[in-house]
C-alpha cells in the first residue's frame, strides 16, 4: 500500500507549525497581549496550523490569542438585514469580516455632497457599550440646538450660556475638563457674575468622572442687575458702562431698557451656582469666583436633561 502523502495545504500547515512550535505552556508577549498585529497571510497559516494540529485554540507564533489587528483596504461591502460584512485586503491576503450586527455605534461623519448626491464620510466608528450614551446623545442634540438658536444680543438680553458649539469634541470616557468662565461685566449697576462656558473645551460625556473648571469674575457696576450669562456670538456687545453704552446703541434706549427688564427677570446665576455647590455638583476652588464641577454620568445626565426642560 503506497504511503499517502499529505496534500499541499496540509503540508504547508505542517511546515508552518514546525516553524512555529507550540510551547509546552502558552507564551505571553506583554506588548501585544490581547491584540496581536498580524498579516492576513500569517493569520491564515496560523489557523491552518491549528486545524492541522487539532488545537481548538487559535495562536500566533505560539501566543494564544483570539484578538488580532489587521490593516487593509475595505472591499466588497455587503449589507444584510442583521449585519454588515466586508472583505479586508491587506496585500498579503483577503479576510472576510462581519461587523455591526444590530449594534449601536457612534460615528463621526463628514457630510459631503450636494443636493441628490448627499452622503456622509464615516471618520470614526465606535460601538456603544454604555447605553446611557444613547440618551446623552439625543439630549446633547437638543442642548446644542438650544444654544445655537438662542436669540441674538441685539434682539434680546437673555441669560444664556455661551457655547462654541462648532468646536465640541465628543468624549468617550474617563476624565474631561471643562472651562467655564464667568466673564466680567463693566456696567452701570451691579451685575452679578456672568457665566460663560468656554465651550472650546466642551466635551459630551459618556462615562466616568468629568471635571469642570468654572471661573467667574466680579462685576464692576452701578445699580443692581441680575447676573447675565454672556452669549458667545460675534455680534454680542456687553454693556460698557454709563451713558456711553446707551449712546452706542444709537439712541435705542427703549430697547435697552426692555433688555434690562428681561435681565432682571433672568434667573440668578449665583443662586444656581450655590445650589449646585450645596448639591455637591460643584465645589469652590481658589477663591469665591472659581468653582470646579465633578459629577458622575447619571447626575450630569439628569442635570443636563433638566436644563433642557422649560
Amino acid at each position: 500500500m503506497p504511503s499517502q502523502r499529505p496534500g499541499p495545504a496540509a503540508a504547508a500547515a505542517h511546515d508552518y507549525a514546525a516553524a512555529t512550535p507550540s510551547p509546552s505552556k502558552p507564551r505571553g508577549n506583554p506588548r501585544y497581549s490581547g491584540c496581536v498585529p498580524a498579516t492576513v497571510r500569517h493569520i491564515a497559516r496560523s489557523l491552518a496550523a491549528a486545524d492541522a494540529g487539532g488545537d481548538p485554540a487559535f495562536s500566533i507564533d505560539g501566543v494564544k490569542t483570539s484578538n488580532v489587528r489587521v490593516l487593509g483596504k475595505v472591499e466588497a461591502v455587503v449589507s444584510a438585514e442583521t449585519d454588515v460584512s466586508f472583505t479586508l485586503d491587506d496585500g498579503t491576503g483577503k479576510i472576510p469580516l462581519v461587523r455591526w450586527a444590530g449594534v449601536y455605534v457612534r460615528v463621526h461623519v463628514d457630510i459631503t455632497g450636494f443636493q441628490t448626491n448627499q452622503q456622509g464620510f464615516a471618520r470614526s466608528i465606535r460601538p456603544i457599550t454604555n447605553f446611557n450614551e444613547v440618551v446623552l446623545h439625543f439630549i446633547e442634540c437638543i442642548h446644542v440646538h438650544i444654544e445655537n438658536t438662542r436669540p441674538k444680543m441685539q434682539e434680546t438680553f437673555p441669560p444664556a450660556v455661551q457655547t462654541n458649539a462648532y468646536t465640541q469634541v465628543p468624549y468617550t470616557g474617563g476624565v474631561t475638563e471643562h472651562q467655564v468662565h464667568f466673564a466680567p461685566q463693566v456696567n452701570q449697576g451691579q451685575l452679578l457674575p456672568a457665566a460663560r462656558t468656554n465651550a472650546s473645551t466642551y466635551a459630551p460625556f459618556t462615562g466616568g468622572v468629568r471635571e469642570h473648571q468654572v471661573h467667574f469674575a466680579p462685576q464692576v457696576n452701578q445699580g443692581q442687575f441680575h447676573p447675565t450669562v454672556q452669549t458667545n456670538r460675534s455680534t454680542y456687545g456687553p454693556f460698557s458702562g454709563g451713558s456711553s453704552a446707551y449712546s452706542g446703541t444709537g439712541g435705542q434706549q427703549h430697547d435697552l431698557q426692555s433688555k434690562v427688564l428681561k435681565v432682571l427677570q433672568a434667573p440668578d446665576i449665583m443662586t444656581v451656582i450655590n445650589l449646585l455647590a450645596d448639591s455637591g455638583f460643584v465645589c469652590w476652588t481658589i477663591d469665591d469666583f472659581h468653582v470646579k464641577c465633578a459629577v458622575f454620568s447619571k447626575e450630569f445626565l439628569s442635570a443636563l436633561s433638566n436644563n433642557c426642560v422649560g
Binding site: 448627499q118 447605553f131 446611557n132 440618551v135 439625543f138 437638543i142 447619571k298 439628569s302 436633561s305
Partner: protein
Amino acid sequence: MDTSVPSPFVNGETLKMFVGRRVRTVVQVQRNESGVLVVQSTDGHQLTIRGAPGAPEAPHYIEVMGIPDSDQSIRAESWTDFGENFDPVPFNGLCKLASDKYKYLFL
C-alpha cells in the same frame, strides 16, 4: 437620506399618541409570562411587550422598537439589551422633550 419613517421616543404616557406607528422605548423587564414580557416604562406605566423572544430577565432594561397595538402594549420588531445600569430618568426627560417642545428635531 431617508427620514420618512422615524421612530419617536415614547414613554408610558406618550405611547398612546403613537398607536399603530413604529416607536422606540426603553423599559425595564419585570417578568416573562409565557413569552409576553411585562415591563415598566420609565414613567412607571406597566406595559406588555409581545414578540421579543430571548429578551433578558429582570431587572434589565431593554430598548424595544415596535408598533403599539394599544396604549399599554407593544408588538416588538426588535429589542436591544441596555443592561442593568441604564438610568431611566434622563430617558424619560428625553421622551417629553422629543414629543413636545423639540418634536421637530425628531419627527
